[in-house]
């Protein structure tokens, strides 16, 4: 522990050190470790250790009655992948579509708040954040009402023959929206939209509006200004927003459960039912490990590619 603590630790009573010694006393140098200890211990015991446990569970065999033993049974992974790959593909697909939709919907709103809302900025901001305070399950259930079969939304879509088109594309079925992929994606988009808007807003707000004027002054049309100045400068927000949307969306099972049917089950639904209903812990563990690995791999590649590594 040969650390060099920075000067003036705020919460330690400095003692008058003996005269000739000019090294920071050991007590002072240990301060950061004492500060870290409880929280890091908490994360190690209740976050890191369970993941290791999970890894060992995934290679166990046995049953509830006889107990589970580590038998290095890696076949669980192949079996799980073989049986549940459609749910994996669906999870990634739904999450990706929802993320793109969040970006397309969220960007104009974040831009509006950052540059055009003026004295309405706080009001709009409250409206973005306030829904958080109503349980998201209740709000998701509200979509059942909005998208109800006989409801005005479905009615309008029907009379415009949009549902015929979407059915042909396979994202709705018959003349309804509920219990179709469209409903699940719509719910996912809705639920994670604020997670896109807030980081976007934060990075847009930092942009000096004079940059827009400068770009205009240098013969950039508004669209060019956006493409060459505003959007590149908002990249940190775009990266953070897409991650904050994609990761929870890929692991989500609530929207699929409440708004979809058995044909729209995502990998989260499988893990949940394997763990809580079927009580097949090795399969649940293997599935969540695959999900974690897949997401970490995708996130790492994405962060590398977008070149913004200072997210923490």
């Amino acid at each position: 522990m040969t650390t060099t603590a920075r000067p003036a630790p705020p919460d330690e009573q400095a003692d008058p050190a003996p005269l000739e010694v000019r090294r920071t006393p050991a007590r002072k140098r240990l301060v950061p470790y004492w500060l870290l200890l409880p929280g890091i211990l908490w994360l190690l015991v209740f976050f890191a250790a369970p993941l290791v446990y999970q890894a060992s569970t995934s290679i166990q065999t046995g049953s509830l009655e006889e107990g589970f033993k580590v038998t290095w049974h890696f076949a669980t992974y192949w079996d799980a992948l073989g049986e549940y790959w459609p749910q994996f593909v669906r999870s990634v697909g739904f999450a990706a579509v929802a993320t793109v939709l969040c970006l397309l919907l969220g960007y104009p709103l974040a831009y509006l708040i950052a540059f055009k809302a003026g004295r309405w900025r706080n009001v709009v901001m409250i409206l973005v954040i306030a829904p958080f305070f109503t349980s998201f399950l209740i709000r998701t259930l509200a979509w059942k009402t909005i998208l109800a079969d006989g409801g005005p939304v479905v009615g309008a879509l029907n009379s415009l023959h949009i549902l015929d088109l979407t059915s042909a594309l396979g994202i709705t079925e018959g003349h309804r929206v509920l219990a179709t992929p469209l409903a699940v994606v719509c719910g996912l988009t809705y639920n994670f939209l604020p997670f896109m808007i807030l980081p976007l807003y934060t990075s847009l707000e930092r942009i000096d509006p004079r940059l827009h004027e400068a770009a205009g002054d240098l013969y950039a049309r508004p669209a060019t200004t956006f493409r060459r100045v505003t959007f590149p400068l908002s990249m940190p927000g775009v990266v953070a927003g897409t991650l904050l949307t994609f990761i929870p969306a890929a692991g989500d099972y609530i929207n699929a459960e409440l708004l979809g049917s058995t044909d729209q089950k995502m990998i989260g639904n499988v893990i949940q039912s394997q763990f809580l209903r079927v009580l097949d812990y090795p399969t649940a563990a293997a599935l969540s490990f695959i999900l974690m690995a897949a997401i970490l791999a995708m996130v790492t590649i994405y962060i590398r590619k977008s070149g913004t590594e200072d997210l923490v």
Binding site: P9, P10, P38, A48, G106, F132, T145, E213, F275
Partner: protein, 282 residues
């Protein structure tokens, strides 16, 4: 993008006069799109609010029947509803306290000191935020199962503190890092001992960061379903009650509570804003 408020380029000032309506649309397209998104965000809340005055025929409150204030006059009229709400509030308060204390300590260590294993600590803080909830939920539940720990209040609390911690660290760290270290030096220079410096200068200046971390913790904990679902055993929090009711029948009282929370939150924010404005003026 047609209306960034930039100076007009020469070509647009020329005698090109397209349809006035089209021009207006082009100039305001961002505002229109933004407001549409806002409507998309707020619509479910409006539905929740409206349907809190519904009197449904069956067990499910998905279709409008007729106006009634029954649920508002008897919000606890459904078995276990208010009990689960109380439990959720209790857990949220304790999880907020725990995560805020532990997270603030970590944030100070990260922002104010150099030490070994810094990168490791940063990764450990970042990972829970980059992990799908269902993975953390299943892992933690596996641990509890194998340890033979009884699921209930304590397991939920432990889980909530775990996933709230990282968010507190991030919020507080940002604030402390942006704080001028000379302020603390100035305090010491003005006869404040290290303890006094921390209490009188560091803490008050870091307070907004700590407050936003705590607020986020409270919201995350109160609204958490996935991790709670895996680690609650037979204990029922408010989100779990709502989840169960989606299967058994949704009482109107759920909407009442959802609406009430929404209104209380908006009221708090508005009052806070007005108070802030008044303070600034005086």
């Amino acid at each position: 993008m047609a209306a960034t408020g930039t100076t007009a380029t020469p070509s647009t000032t020329a005698a090109r006069t397209p349809n006035k309506g089209l021009r207006w649309l082009r100039r305001n397209i961002i505002t229109i799109a933004g407001l549409a998104t806002l409507a998309y965000l707020v619509l479910p809340n409006v539905i929740v609010m409206v349907f809190s005055f519904n009197k449904p025929n069956g067990r499910f409150n998905y279709q409008w029947q007729r106006f009634s204030t029954d649920a508002w006059t008897d919000p606890c009229g459904v078995a276990d509803l208010c009990g689960s709400l109380g439990l959720s509030l209790q857990i949220a308060v304790w999880a907020t306290v725990g995560a805020t204390v532990l997270g603030t300590m970590i944030a100070f260590a990260l922002a104010r000191y150099r030490f070994r294993a810094r990168a490791g600590v940063n990764t450990l803080i970042f990972l829970p935020m980059a992990m799908p909830e269902v993975v953390m939920a299943a892992s933690l539940a596996t641990l509890f199962l194998n340890m033979g720990i009884q699921f209930g209040f304590w397991t939920i609390l432990i889980a909530h503190i775990m996933f709230c911690l990282s968010f507190v660290v991030t919020a507080v760290k940002a604030r402390v890092m942006s704080m001028d270290p000379r302020l603390e030096q100035a305090a010491q220079d003005l006869y404040a001992s290290p303890v006094q410096t921390f209490l009188r200068v560091t803490l008050p200046i870091a307070a907004p960061g700590i407050a936003s971390g705590a607020l986020l913790s409270f919201a995350l904990s109160f609204d958490d379903f996935i991790i709670t679902n895996f680690n609650a055993g037979s204990t029922v929090t408010f989100p779990m009650f709502v989840w169960g009711s989606a299967q058994r029948g949704t009482p109107v009282q759920i909407n009442v509570i959802g609406t009430a929370m929404f209104l209380v939150a908006v009221l708090c924010v508005v009052v806070g804003q007005l108070a802030g404005k008044r303070r600034k003026r005086s």
